[in-house]
């Protein structure tokens, strides 16, 4: 009986240690989440502005019959490039698994897909499956910056211009709130579909814009900048979602550890109680035998 008591004690200690770690991870994730959330919220208006200006310029270009940059024009082909955004580290609940499942689904539905992988989890996963990919970007850190996004986006745009694929889709986790994250698939290139739907045309008299030096030239810089921004935003959304997801996972892990501890201490007390009872009855029995 004493043996089992000691075992239980040891078991309780390990659970306690684990709980301490998960609690610490929860708090770290919470503070990182706060920062990531601020960053993602700060970047959203920028993107909206860019989208509006881009929409206006595209409409002006088509009205003037100007040539739009080749990167905007849609090809009819089915060859796709899929950018998969995951995290470098695990222990974030279903965060990476959700993304990877979606990616697999996309691969099943489309025949000709080239992949660009962001994050160690995606790279390791597809490496294990022996699936080829075009490029991978790992260890971007907790604070993805614009340069990193630009690097990824420019490589993809270069491939796109060189006609390696007909469309580019990015798969990432959209940050809705601390507890809600949605995997989202968004077409980056060509832009045509997006512009028609997403930029609202203001009613009434539209101011007549001057384009300096020309609409075509403005689009030439606007489009790549927009694509960079979309990628950057996806990285920020993913980062916030990752931290949120990890925080929730660690929170429930800490809760579970607490429950387990309660059960263990209950059985420990019971074991101790029965050990004492046995001892007393042994003593009483011994005394009776003597008397």
């Amino acid at each position: 009986m004493a043996q089992s008591g000691r075992d239980l004690k040891r078991r309780m200690q390990t659970v306690k240690n684990t709980q301490q770690i998960t609690k610490a991870m929860e708090m770290i994730a919470a503070s990182k989440l706060r920062r990531a959330q601020e960053r993602v919220e700060r970047s959203r208006p920028y993107r909206k502005r860019l989208e509006q200006s881009l929409g206006r310029a595209l409409r002006a270009a088509s009205a003037a019959g100007e040539e739009v940059p080749s990167i905007v024009r849609s090809n009819d082909g089915e060859r796709a490039c899929l950018i998969v955004v995951t995290s470098d580290r695990g222990l974030a609940g279903g965060y990476n698994a959700n993304i990877l499942r979606q990616a697999e689904e996309f691969l099943r539905e489309h025949e000709d897909v080239q992949m660009v992988l962001v994050g160690r989890k995606a790279r390791d996963y597809f490496r294990r499956l022996d699936k080829p990919f075009l490029a991978d970007y790992v260890y971007l850190g907790d604070k993805p910056n614009f340069n990193q996004a630009q690097e990824i986006s420019q490589v993809v745009q270069e491939f796109y211009r060189n006609d390696l694929f007909d469309k580019v889709v990015i798969l990432y986790t959209h940050f809705v709130s601390t507890v809600i994250h949605k995997t989202e698939m968004q077409q980056i290139l060509p832009l045509t579909e997006l512009e028609a739907e997403k930029t609202p045309v203001a009613r009434g008299v539209q101011p007549l814009y001057l384009y300096e030096p020309s609409v075509g030239d403005v689009l030439q810089t606007l489009v790549p900048l927009y694509v960079d921004t979309v990628v950057f935003q996806a990285l920020l959304e993913a980062q916030a979602s990752e931290q949120g997801s990890r925080m929730n996972a660690m929170h429930s892990a800490s809760d579970n550890a607490g429950e387990l501890l309660e059960q263990l201490s209950l059985s420990f007390n019971r074991a101790r109680q029965s050990a004492i009872t046995t001892e007393i009855s042994e003593i009483v029995g011994g005394a009776e035998a003597l008397g």
Binding site: R49, L50, P207, Y209, D217, V218, T221
Partner: protein, 134 residues
């Protein structure tokens, strides 16, 4: 004198928001000055300096690395891929970056992406220029 609002924003932060009377932009086709009540305008920017402030007197500078500017409703918005105010720039770091880029160009190694190094050099020089003759 009539003034208008200038905003410089990047995807990462809002760099500055001030009332100005005049702004000088580095557009892809040369320098362009903008005063209050300018007609709606959309223009592409290259790597260069944005100078802004009162019509006469001391102007402030910001180094930007490409982007575009939009004038509408008497507000000039510069959406840059990166932007720094002159007073924020770490001159030492910029000089180091310049030397590094120059060295790479001089060595002319085949495995360096030439265009990229050139852009890096341009950016570094631009940032150094922003801090000049303060």
């Amino acid at each position: 004198m009539s003034s208008y609002r200038l905003e410089i924003v990047t995807a990462e932060r809002q760099v500055v928001e001030v009332e100005v009377e005049s702004v000088l932009l580095p557009t892809t086709s040369g320098r362009l000055g903008i005063w209050a009540n300018h007609a709606p305008l959309l223009t592409a920017l290259k790597i260069g300096l944005v100078e802004f402030g009162p019509k006469t007197g001391k102007k402030r500078k910001a180094a930007i690395s490409g982007g575009f500017a939009e004038m509408a409703d008497n507000t000039l918005t510069i959406l840059a891929s990166s932007a720094e105010l002159a007073e924020e720039i770490d001159v030492l770091r910029a000089k180091e970056a310049k030397e590094r880029a120059q060295q790479r160009l001089d060595e002319a190694q085949a495995d360096w992406d030439f265009a990229r190094v050139q852009i890096a050099l341009e950016k570094a020089i631009n940032r150094i220029n922003a801090t000049d003759n303060e």
